[in-house]
Symmetry: C2
Subunit: 227 residues, 2 copies
DNA sequence: CGGTATCCCCGTCGATACTG
DNA sequence: CAGTATCGACGGGGATACCG
């Protein structure tokens, strides 16, 4: 817990827990369904493992997270109280979507983008068998330009080295463009049309690929009217 | 703004602004209707004026607050973006109400309680003319035990010295009891019955006084079922 | 009323390395 | 995979005084 505010208002009491750096993002990852320490880390790559560990302990003490260890299989799950933070995360995210449109270059991160996209794969829309989507970000730092999503009915794997399978669809885009599409700031079709996002592969798959990803949960938030 | 998270997620971008200490409480005060620097201070008595000033400037830069100075009359008001933080504050407060029931003695503060109550006076329920409610907290620190609310149709004044008017109703309560009633953790009737809250004055006014205050906006939040 | 100026401390966080 | 250990810097924020 953070420093106390010495106020009885429930907003103050809640924020004593929630306003520490990273805490809300840890909750966000849990709300998104990550349960394991290293999965949480992948969604929070700039957070040190020490701090993640401390935050998880704090959340556990606060009754928001339950840690279970079944043998070596450690899981962090939201309790009922934690699950009720979902509306808070949603309200914050909706507000951020509407009022913080501009992204700086430092906000762009191919690791995070691919990790997020892998979580939003709509298996129902994916062809039978194994589907391999290659992602290329020519403007990303060396070593973070090439990614592969290996999608089956059971799971989606993220690879930063060529897994060796045949690629079904290859997407090449600037980091900013695909991030904008993911966030719902830019439509897929507009990105393709402008040339900043290219899709390679058989025509039926090229047409289908936008359906394969449900995008960010906030992509559908209506934006403020232009004034 | 706080330190950047280097994430494109709208939750991260929003929390860069909102997770700094005190920021959400400043927004809460603005949502509750305070507009002037010293009114904000009364709702945030443990916050230094320097820090309040800095937070207001940050919120202004972020497009959440608009500062207007009409002569010497300075006002801080929420912009449209700021007004849309109301659902965030409400979600946080509702969560806190449900899941952080226990208050420590350090959370109790007569200044704050009286200030909050003065904002929740339901003028429609108050008798015509001037109504003076005396509040007494025998267990509060010296100098913070006696308060008076001077209520007219136009405004409610908070006094920590006897304003000299005849008192219509006098309420005596432990700090914890009246705070609990205010928060909706304890019903007025139950507090009276238990003897920890006493009301003095003419019988009709004694019966009417619970209607004079609408209590905390979170008082009506349903509590989790006991398990 | 509506703020600034200053000062110093302490705690948080970041970075890195390492372990069962 | 799931964390701990260590350490240093920095800067946020608390306290207090003061000003227009």
């Amino acid at each position: 817990m953070g420093a106390p505010y010495h106020q009885f208002c429930p907003v103050s009491k809640a924020m004593e827990l929630l306003d520490e750096r990273w805490t809300m993002l840890v909750v966000r990852e849990l709300v998104m369904g990550s349960e394991r320490f290293n999965d949480l880390r992948r969604g929070l790559p700039r957070m040190s493992p020490t701090l993640l560990s401390r935050r998880l302990q704090q959340l556990e003490r606060a009754g928001i997270v339950e840690r279970t260890a079944d043998g070596g299989d450690v899981r962090y799950r939201l309790t009922e109280a934690g699950e009720e933070l979902r509306p808070v995360v949603e309200a914050v995210g909706a507000w951020g979507t509407r009022w913080i449109g501009e992204l700086g270059d430092v906000d762009l991160d191919p690791k995070l983008l691919v990790w997020d996209m892998h979580r939003s794969v709509d298996v129902a829309a994916i062809p039978e068998g194994r589907t391999v989507v290659q992602l290329q970000f020519p403007d990303a730092p060396r070593g973070q330009r090439d990614w592969w999503l290996v999608i089956t009915a059971d799971e989606t794997d993220v690879c930063d080295v060529d897994p060796g399978f045949d690629v079904n669809v290859s997407i090449s885009s600037s980091l900013h463009t695909l991030t904008s599409v993911w966030r719902g700031d830019l439509e897929w079709g507009a990105a393709v049309k402008s040339g900043s996002l290219q899709v390679d592969g058989p025509a039926p798959l090229r047409r289908a690929v936008p359906e394969w990803f449900t995008l960010s949960v906030f992509a559908g938030v209506p934006r403020p009217a232009i004034r």
